[in-house]
Symmetry: D2
Subunit: 355 residues, 4 copies
């Protein structure tokens, strides 16, 4: 089968580099263009590589970064675009690609609130993918945009979905411990994070609730319908490279016991697993029984098979009482909560025949 021609936008950033890594030698897609802004143009991936936890594949090392000219991509037959652009510029460029008929899978927040654009997490709301048919109709050349969710809410939503379905939980308090890579580059000044915690990330708490409600909600009669879930978050930036840790609390009478919680989380499986999508983790949620896990340093890259490293969400320290539930949850913010989310979305679209 011929692979589909793909381009990566924002190749010099951390998300762009994750895209390059995850899409290398991919069974469905072939990256024909690594695009970035003027400053990085002409440089090789080796020269701008910033990821320390994964090895830059020698075949990728020499690839050269080019500019982001939508018309060139269209002319060259690019069908699929993976966007790691910063939100400031993503809106227009992604729109331009979609108008030119391309399928855009984006990590940017610019289009997440568009009324016909899904925030897709295939384990949770694969049926939201049908919203792209509405987009196609209004686009000049039938392209569309699919977004992945904010990094913090992605992990949380994957962990909460089976609990909501099984036990009707809907009110959550969440305190986050978010990694530095979530702020991009240059991101947070080192003098602000050394021996410190920053107790505010602009708009993050608002996004966790609004995106969470859209993701966990329905898509009915051509419209997204918010879930009644309520996520009250307190977000912080901590001195950790990768991996967002979240302390999750739920309170309600007749809380199920720990074994039931574990069983539901451990047994969770959905459409990506059914389709054996290449980047789908065998288990979307891994439950750790140890008393001191998950830890960002040790568990962020959880997930198998190899192509799904960093795609599993890890849950641990589950504690229940008659009317309360507490646990910790960890998500790799630039893989499952970033580039990997969009790669999985594109794999789903390919296999569902939407591409």
């Amino acid at each position: 089968m011929t692979k589909r021609k793909a381009a990566i936008l924002g190749s010099s950033g951390m998300i762009g580099q994750r895209f390059a890594h995850m899409l290398h030698d991919h069974p469905y897609f072939e990256v024909v263009a690594h695009c970035a802004s003027d400053r990085s143009r002409g440089k090789t991936l080796a020269e701008i590589w910033k990821l320390s936890d994964i090895e830059l594949n020698p075949e990728l090392a020499g690839q050269t970064i080019r500019g982001t000219a939508v018309e060139d991509l269209a002319r060259e037959g690019v069908e699929v675009v993976f966007s790691g652009l910063p939100s400031g510029v993503a809106g227009d460029v992604e729109h331009g690609c979609a108008e030119e008929g391309m399928a855009v899978f984006s990590n940017a927040s610019s289009h997440r609130t568009d009324p016909d654009t899904p925030i897709l997490i295939p384990e949770i709301n694969h049926q939201h993918l049908s919203s792209v048919e509405i987009q196609r109709k209004r686009r000049k050349k039938a392209g569309f945009i699919v977004t992945n969710a904010n990094c913090s809410v992605t992990g949380l939503a994957v962990g909460l979905k089976p609990l909501i379905d099984a036990f009707g939980l809907h009110q959550f308090n969440v305190a986050t411990y978010q990694a530095l890579s979530g702020a991009g580059y240059p991101g947070v000044p080192s003098v602000d994070t050394l021996s410190n915690i920053l107790p505010h990330i602009v708009n993050e708490e608002e996004k966790m609730n609004s995106e969470g409600r859209k993701i966990l909600g329905g898509f009915e009669q051509g419209q997204f319908v918010d879930s009644p879930v309520n996520i009250l978050a307190s977000c912080t930036r901590v001195n950790v490279r990768d991996g967002h840790l979240e302390a999750v609390f739920a309170n309600k009478p007749d809380m199920p016991d720990k074994e039931s919680i574990v069983s539901v989380l451990d047994g969770f499986s959905s459409r990506p697993q059914e389709l054996s999508l290449p980047s789908a983790p065998e288990k979307p949620v891994i439950v750790r029984p140890e008393p001191d896990r998950p830890q960002p340093l040790l568990d962020s890259l959880a997930g198998s098979p190899k192509r799904a490293r960093g795609m599993a969400v890890t849950v641990g320290r589950i504690r229940t009482s008659a009317d309360s539930l507490r646990f910790f949850l960890l998500v790799h913010n630039t893989i499952r909560g970033g580039a990997g989310g969009s790669v999985l979305n594109a794999e789903l679209a390919h296999r569902e025949g939407v591409l």
Copy 2:
């Protein structure tokens, strides 16, 4: 007025050093003995000083550490003992001092659950001090033990007390971000904390609830009566030197608005302020209006006058909705949540005539 002769136990540790600093040139107490285990015996305070945020007073620098012989302290007329001993050894030594007639103010957890020993936070439960009369009766020479609370619960209880009294809140979810100094020395290995979060501190979550209920409860007819407050905590160790940050959540219908919360916290004042105790902060709770405070690096040492640096609890990012309240709270774990707590307790005892 003659000052009371005091001794510090555990002088080589972080709490012991805070005691030395806070009790230097104190109006009520005169430290005549810095005691520690064999290993540090004979060394000067300068040689074992580990605190980087405060200057070792030149008058203290040359003081020599001696062993911990209870009978010697008794013979020399020591009336007041400040104990920064590790919990493993504190139980017996502190008991011995009390039996010899000394008043022991302890940071150790060993006696916190004793039925006639208070966990004293003067702003919250100064009336618990009367429990020492029961102790005196059973002790050979009428000494007694007063403990300060666990570092995390101290800050939390100070911040919650006015809200509980004013609005009847009683159910709390709390996620902590606890500093390295809270684990003592050598404490946590550096390879475990660099670029990581440790999502478990042994017994800490249990202590936060059980100590919180005792502290916030009553002392009636010679017995401590637990408060019905329920503190569900998830505790972590973060890569920060000093200052425990806590994300606090409360849910109930008809939550008061932000202005009411601020007003109650800001107006909080209690017995230590009434008595103008030397180490009492003018304001036990400082409310910061900025969008990104409190931060451990910038706010841990909050509190004035100078002798009360690190004794105020800082609250910030207060957010309310119809049925929810969220805020961050910061406490200096080895000052207000450690040595400073016991110093304030001793000052109260002195002024209330209990010493």
Copy 3:
């Protein structure tokens, strides 16, 4: 005696804040204007305070930052200017102040290479101060500029001066471990420094040699004459807040023994000590005998009396052989190697009658 009216430029930066702290309640100078760029204008010092190791004096907290209008300063009778401006803008503004008759004491590198402008370190080259007479002549209103040295070379030069004089050493290899605060704000991105060392600081190695040669050289017949000293440095940025550590190596036959080295360093005293300048440390060089000092965390603020905290250079781990010398040296980069350097320079100028 009336104090001289002073202004601080760059008040929102780390150097500007050190100036504010060190000049508060100063016996010679009275700060009448805290100036900074548009963004900080109108804010109070409390609002922009970034220093975590010193307490913002309550009297300073409410002072408001104003813009940098040279003519206004002149009109208000400002005689002395302390400049913590970034090098990009310092050149012109400082020149303007000097032309208007003010004495400028600057931390910026802009004028350090000017042929009639000294890089002054009073313990080393107080006689270079006479170069300002040449400047006065060419300036419209007889003002002048005096610079302090680069942070790394300041500490090194103070430590080397007595050894050069006593033993004729002149060839040095130096590896540095430079703190984050040396890069200003926002400075170095946190993702670059966490669990990493950056083995390059632009132009730093060159400055260490060229500034070192000017500082340690002479001022003869109206001209600066470079010292023959040769400083071969390898500079790195490390994940430390404050305090530049330097590993110093010298090789020559007949190296004096350790006792001689210690004796010369320990006995070093110069003009600032002779004049008892307010910010002069009693000992410019403190020699630590312990096997594991100096440490940035514990020793950066070395120096007494209180006004001279951070003004002493600490040397330790001195090791000699027949033909080699090795030691570690530590300097507080934003105090002795920054604002404090200029404060000491101004104190010298005041007492030498140059102001």
Copy 4:
């Protein structure tokens, strides 16, 4: 060809885990026993895994740790032992294994100074391997011990060897920036390393010179003859997980120019490359031309092919003058400077017919 039966000692430590990773699926050796002390006995590798930069192979995850009984290993036919034991216990156990006829490849320092035991770095002194014939004669059952060098000196010696041979350099000043993993576990307390540099590592500077002289020296007439090289080091511990960085200085008249230095380092190749040993890096020394490399975070794992990751030494920022040379050098301390060193030694012994 049948693989040789191998055992790993010290399997619960960082070096032991590196051994497990590097020896998995190895073409020459088959690990039949993972041994450690009582505390870890019975646990699986998954339960004690501490390495965050490499994935624990699923085939290894379930392997169980057993005790260290030399006689059991002998009875089971173990021929080769890889020892990651701490120096305190390594001496006796390794001696016991050698007496029982096993070939021991050790990371411990216990036997490095034995007169017939080599400190082997195959790129530098592969001919030292013949010293084991002397050992065989004195051992009960003809076993022997081969040690790898101290982590810091390994990287340095690999980088210096070609320069010494080509240009006769022999006097070096070296300042190190050593990673936390070099101190083992629990290693350095976090409160000592956060925002700090520790300017002393016990015995490290002495070892760098004495081991360096043995490694770079000869083996003549059954005796090791020290090289005249002189390595004057100043060693520090920095807040970095993996990778020792070293600032190297050499001074001599007629220093070759930068191109010559680069050419000699880049062209370096030796016996392991000639034999294509499985863990030999294609290039033992990688020269980076960028202005800001090597960095521990980005370059510690340098080396190809895949089995040789972390086995190459990276050199960068080479600067020369008429009489001086400066550069930075980076070595992965627990791979090339630890377990990987011994794996390469065993591969050499196997291929040279010494096993």
